[in-house]
């Protein structure tokens, strides 16, 4: 099922807020998970697994390091679900 970028972004905001305690309002497409949002490598795994469950996509371990920004994650999920 095709997902819209806006829906995915909204979902990621909720997940990152839940996992890492970062207010959804500060989560934007150009934010870097590590440098801007201070999501560490283990929290990133939790975010990835939550995204897999929520959006019904597979995000392999080797792809996780490529997802530097929120926008990278949105693009990956939208393409994977297409």
């Amino acid at each position: 099922m095709a997902l819209s970028a806006a829906d995915v972004l909204a979902g990621i905001k909720e997940i990152v807020e839940e996992v890492a305690g970062i207010p959804a309002a500060s989560i934007e497409l150009d934010k870097n998970f590590t440098d801007d949002l201070e999501v560490d490598s283990l929290s990133m795994v939790e975010v990835v697994v939550a995204c897999e469950e929520r959006f019904g996509v597979k995000i392999p371990d080797e792809k996780v390091t490529d997802l530097a920004t929120v926008g990278d994650a949105v693009n990956f999920i939208v393409n994977a679900a297409a």
Partner: protein
């Protein structure tokens, strides 16, 4: 002709004993070699310190220390034991086993004795086997020892492992009881991910390197780990395996009193507990904070620490789950040993 067979009885953990190396190493002592900080290590692992064995604390020395305490607490001697299972991946001899060194030194040189290689899951594998031995009538009293001196196989400059692993030993005596004190084991492997935790190179590669290159190029077999891959597997697959072990025993999360997972990382333990929806009434072992990840020794060490802190847990139900290199896992519900 018919072959005569035996059958035994239910079994329980009669006692637990431990050996903790005397040297406590705080994060401040190891951070320079890995360009890290106490804050970074605590945030990612919850580990504040670990115990590292000295030259006079070998795998066999530590195992005997733990076994002697377990026997004393069960009011037994080594002569009462008919089988010894040692879970370890750091005994530095391919053969004969650590188990035979232990029975020889402890004074019961004819007991059945062997080592098992199931890394951080080794203790729970041993408990499952000991329980089956007793039920099948193959043994009446089994000593299960988890022991590691991982400092011998850890690169102090490896930023992925140097702050995690630690040394120590824990032992339990498993013996016949009228009631079931050990539930069915839930165990298995994920060998597609067997490269996630490795001890490389092999002895053969090391020997061949030594003959071809200079001594400086020879690499000792140290442990390596892909942190994110292991975290994902541990949290999301192991919480399901632990719940299956609970279900196999006919219990729910509301009917157990303690959760004693392998002490791999506080973040793994906390996220597992959240995934499993453990109620606040379940006391969760966190021995790793001060004693590090001791692989096969971590569950009995954590069990001992939990009983010392919460004596009301003696005789109560605990869910155990061990998981590690392989990747392999095993979990079961046990009745914690009675107060000695």
């Amino acid at each position: 002709m018919v072959i005569k067979t035996k059958s035994g009885s239910e079994s329980s953990i009669l006692s637990v004993g431990v050996y903790r190396p005397s040297r406590l190493v705080p994060n401040s002592e190891i951070v320079d070699a890995i360009d890290s900080s106490d804050e970074w290590i605590v945030q990612r692992t919850g580990i504040e310190s670990r115990r590292i064995a000295g030259a006079d604390e070998s795998v066999v020395d530590m195992a005997i220390g733990a076994a002697e305490q377990a026997l004393l607490r069960a009011k037994l001697t080594i002569k009462d034991i008919d089988s010894v299972i040692v879970a370890t991946i750091t005994y530095p001899h391919q053969a004969p086993s650590a188990a035979t060194a232990i029975i020889q030194r402890m004074g019961n040189p004819t007991a059945a004795a062997f080592d098992i290689s199931a890394a951080c899951a080794g203790f729970c594998y041993g408990v499952a086997m000991a329980h089956d031995f007793v039920r099948a009538g193959s043994a009446k009293k089994v000593l299960v020892i988890g022991v590691e001196k991982i400092s011998d196989f850890t690169d102090p400059t490896d930023r992925a492992t140097a702050f995690i692993f630690a040394d120590g030993a824990g032992a339990v005596v498993i013996g016949e009881t009228s009631d079931a004190g050990i539930g069915p084991v839930e165990w298995g492997s994920d060998s597609e991910n067997r490269d996630a935790i490795l001890m490389n190179p092999s002895w053969i590669d090391m020997r061949d390197t030594e003959t071809q290159l200079t001594k400086a190029d020879v690499k000792w077999p140290n442990i390596t780990q892909e942190g994110q891959k292991v975290f994902r597997w541990a949290v999301f697959s192991m919480s399901k395996a632990a719940l299956k072990a609970l279900d196999s025993a006919g219990l729910s999360v509301h009917q157990i009193d303690a959760f004693i997972p392998h002490q791999a990382n506080v973040r793994i333990i906390e996220t597992m507990a959240k995934e499993m929806k453990l109620p606040d009434s379940v006391i969760i072992a966190d021995d790793i904070r001060t004693n590090g990840n001791t692989s096969a020794a971590s569950i009995p060490l954590a069990m001992d620490a939990l009983l010392a802190k919460h004596p009301e847990l003696h005789g109560k139900l605990a869910l155990l789950i061990g998981y590690g290199a392989g990747l392999v896992y095993a979990g079961q519900v046990v009745k914690l040993p009675p107060k000695p």
